[in-house]
Each structure stands twice: as structure tokens, then as C-alpha cells.
Symmetry: C3
């Protein structure tokens, strides 16, 4: 807390972005705000049609209400992807969802966070630290789970409710907890696991 | 990710539901969307009156803003139940809340999730796996806690902020963590605990 | 669950509050509902101007959409504070944020919860238990983290995504988990830590 000027001031933003992206993102946010509140199956139908030009999708895409997708042009979805109520996908880096991915309500995929290691500079000034998120086919991510930057989740995996996924998840593994650890497997346990 | 037709496609839904329920649910969602955003005590008053025909309640029911209740006709509330901001109650199975239950903001009660054990079929096609949730009298569930299908929480219990409750909670126990474990008791510790 | 009168009843509120505060809070909630949904940078700009008379701030304040601040008159912000999408700040006790504090999306600061220790009285009737929250300069609180009543977070600290902070955090510490524990330091590890 310190002395400062009176009245609202301009906010100093972290992370540089190109002007075109800023405008495109702004328009997308308002579009999302306009359609995102619509409840029920009618809302899902409206969004699956109207989001079509903005999100790369190999087939039907199902987006529940109150979701928030930053930079949808960096999101790529397979067929029959389902995004639950209140999910937030921060696609400042590439985010790839395979076929038949199910995101339960409140899932958070963050492809970018803050660099903080330098103790002598403000975190705000150290810029972002991110990495692409890659999720395979037939993956179910449970309610309120969080997937952090750079994580790769193998096909057929299950992420339990409320997990925080900080490292890669092997195919058909079932992970839970913070940090998420393998607690079971779909089918037989692979050799060496 | 794979080749697929162009243009939006019909989304293949998991879990069969009777046609009447689908229509009823749709109407409820729009009704909820219409009333659910109203802030403050005025909003709570409006909802406590207008939700009355739809949610079985033994007495005053207090519902904060931005809550989401799926299939309210399977929810049964005691007297003086309070549901906090942004709570989500998925009542695909029966959910029973006792008298004086307090749900803090962002609590999630899920009575149904996906079956995933068969590694050779898509999770979407394995149908739901659920069980009724039963919460006793005078229970406080802290902010952002999650209660999973089939869980029974005894009267007088306290669930700490951010817990994930995967198993039954005894009466007057205080549980915390993921998975939630007993960390304390209200009053004396019962014999054998 | 028990016998009870028919028709909606008056809800018995926990915690006494002065009448003036109740009216002020109600008006604030509707004001917040009116401005809070506005997406993008336009929404942030509108809020940083319009929230100015209500939140004590030493400099630019950046508030994303769908945040919820209870009793903003007990919140005090330093310069360049950023509050992410969907954050909830329950300022029933004083909440102080230092300069350059970054709250990621979905952060929850709770300065007051329920007293529950007496097993012979309803939790609702035992009143609140709270304490001021104090967050130093240049602190980054990750997405979905929760900070509980009475917690003091030192300058330069980092709180990892999804943590539940139940105790004080030393300066420049990096904490994670539930309950949040020190997992690293920004810069050199201090003596005796």
C-alpha cells in the first residue's frame, strides 16, 4: 500500500499481445456474453451452431452455459466434445481436445500462468509462463478439476473430481488429488506402472 | 481427432431420459435462468417464493444467486435450508437435505457421474453411475466442497472448505481434505472413533 | 426433516447486522449485478471507473467479470490490484490487498465463517467466526485458491492453483495444497525455514 494519485488510473497489463488479437478477443467476449447465459438444451443448440465459425471442431461440439473460452482460435476439438457448465479454457497457448472428451462442470484448463521465480521483480512484470495442453480421445475430466500449462493427458484417462493435474497423465490412467496421482487404471494395469 | 463431416452436427447425448422430464427440465432451466441472477436479499426473497412449487421443502428455503439445480423434483429440503451463491445440485438421483443445512458458496452436490471401468467402450456410452445423497440436520458444508454420489452425511457434521467428500461422514464429525477425512468432532469424540 | 407449516416461510438469518449496512449492501449487490456481467476490457474499464467510489484503492484497480464482493467498504486495495473472473471476496471483516496483488480467476477470500464448536446448538445460531485477511505486496494467488479468515500472506508470496490457505504464509514463500504448505521460495530460502 502506498501513496498514489487520486481517481481511477490506467491499469498496467502483464503480457504483451498484438493489437488485432486484443480487438478480436474483445468481440469474442461480448459474443460469448450474449450467448453464454442461455440455459438448457436450447442454449446448447444455439451455441453449437453459433460457436461453429470460431472454434475448430471435427464434429459436434456441446457447450453448456456460463463457460469462458479465452482465444478460441487456439482451441481445437475432436468429435463429440462436451464442455460442462462454468468451464474455463484459457487458450493463450494451443489447447487440443480429442474425440469424445467430456469436461464436467467447472473444469479449468489453463495454458498460461505467471513467471514468478525472480524475487527482485514484480510477478506482473515477469511475463507469462505457459505451454500447450493436449488431451487425448475418450478422456473424462471430473467436476472442478484443474489442468495446468504444458500438461498432456493420454487417451482413455479419467481425472477425478477436484484434482489438480500438474504433470502428464498416461493413457487409461485414473488420477486424483492435488497434485493428481494415478489411483487406478481403466482395464489392466500396464507393465512397469 | 479424426476426419468428420463439415458443419455443426447433432450431439450424441449420454444417459437416456424420458421425454417428459427433458421438457420439464428445459422449462425449469429457463425459469432458473430468469430468476437466478437476481442479487441480494430481494433476489433471495423472490426465489424463496417462486421456487416453492418446484422444490419440496418443509419450511423456509433460502437460495442465493447463480445456483443451478438439476431436476429439482428429486430434491427434498428440511426447514431453514440455506443454499449459497453458485452452488450446483445435480439431483439426477434423490438428494435429501435435513433441517438447518447450510451450503456455503460454490458447494457441488453430484448424485450422478459417469461409469468408466470398461476400457473398450467410450465413457460416454457406459451410462451414468449414481446414488442418492443424504444430508442430515444441522450440517454445514463449507465453500467449494464437493459431495459425490451415494454419500450420506450424518446430522451435526461439518465439511471444511474445499473438501471432496467421497465416503460417508458420521454424525458430528468434522471432515477436511481430498478425500475428506475426520479431523475433529463437535463435542466429545464418540467411542471407537 | 420434520413437520412444518405450509407455504413459504420467513428465513431466519444467522449473524446480526445493522440496518444501514443491510440496505447499503443490497444496493451494492444490484449495482454489482448491473455492471458485473460486462465482458472483456470494456467491462473492466467500466468497473474500474464505477467501482471507484465504493472500494478504497491506492491506484488502478482491475476487476474482471462475475466477481462478487461483499461489503466492499471493508476492502482496501493497493496500487495495480487485479481481481480475476469469478473471484469472491467476503469482506465481513477487513480485507487488505497490497500493491500489485494478482488474484487469478475463481479465488475466494473468506473473512468470516460459522462457529460450530458447540454441539448442542445449531451452527446457524452460534454466530460468525472471522478475522481480517491481510495480503502483502506483489502476491500472486493462483486460480481457485481459497484464503480462510484471519490469514496473513507476506509480500512476494505465491499461492498455487487450488490451494486452501488455512495459516499465515511467510514473505516470498510458495505454498500449495490443502492445507497449503511451503513447497518453494522466491529467491533464496530464508534462514531457519
Amino acid at each position: 500500500m502506498s501513496s498514489a494519485g487520486r481517481g481511477p488510473q490506467v491499469f498496467r497489463r502483464s503480457g504483451g499481445r498484438r493489437g488485432g488479437e486484443v480487438v478480436g478477443e474483445e468481440l469474442w467476449f461480448w459474443f460469448e456474453g450474449l450467448l453464454g447465459w442461455m440455459p438448457g438444451r436450447v442454449g446448447r443448440l444455439v451455441r453449437s451452431v453459433c460457436y461453429w465459425p470460431f472454434i475448430r471442431s471435427a464434429g459436434a461440439l456441446d457447450v453448456a452455459e456460463h463457460t469462458h473460452i479465452r482465444m478460441p482460435w487456439r482451441l481445437s476439438c475432436g468429435r463429440q466434445v462436451s464442455i460442462g457448465r462454468g468451464c474455463q479454457l484459457t487458450c493463450t497457448e494451443t489447447v487440443v481436445l480429442g474425440d469424445d472428451v467430456l469436461l464436467a462442470p467447472g473444469v479449468l484448463l489453463v495454458s498460461s500462468s505467471h513467471e514468478w521465480r525472480d524475487p527482485d521483480r514484480h510477478i506482473r512484470d515477469q511475463g507469462p509462463r505457459g505451454g500447450p495442453i493436449n488431451i487425448g480421445d475418450d478422456v473424462w475430466i471430473g467436476a472442478r478439476a484443474v489442468v495446468l500449462p504444458g500438461v498432456r493427458i493420454g487417451s482413455g484417462a479419467v481425472v477425478a473430481t477436484g484434482s489438480v493435474v500438474r504433470a502428464d497423465v498416461p493413457s487409461r490412467a485414473v488420477v486424483a488429488g492435488d497434485p493428481a496421482r494415478v489411483v487406478s487404471w481403466r482395464g489392466e494395469r500396464p507393465d512397469g506402472a
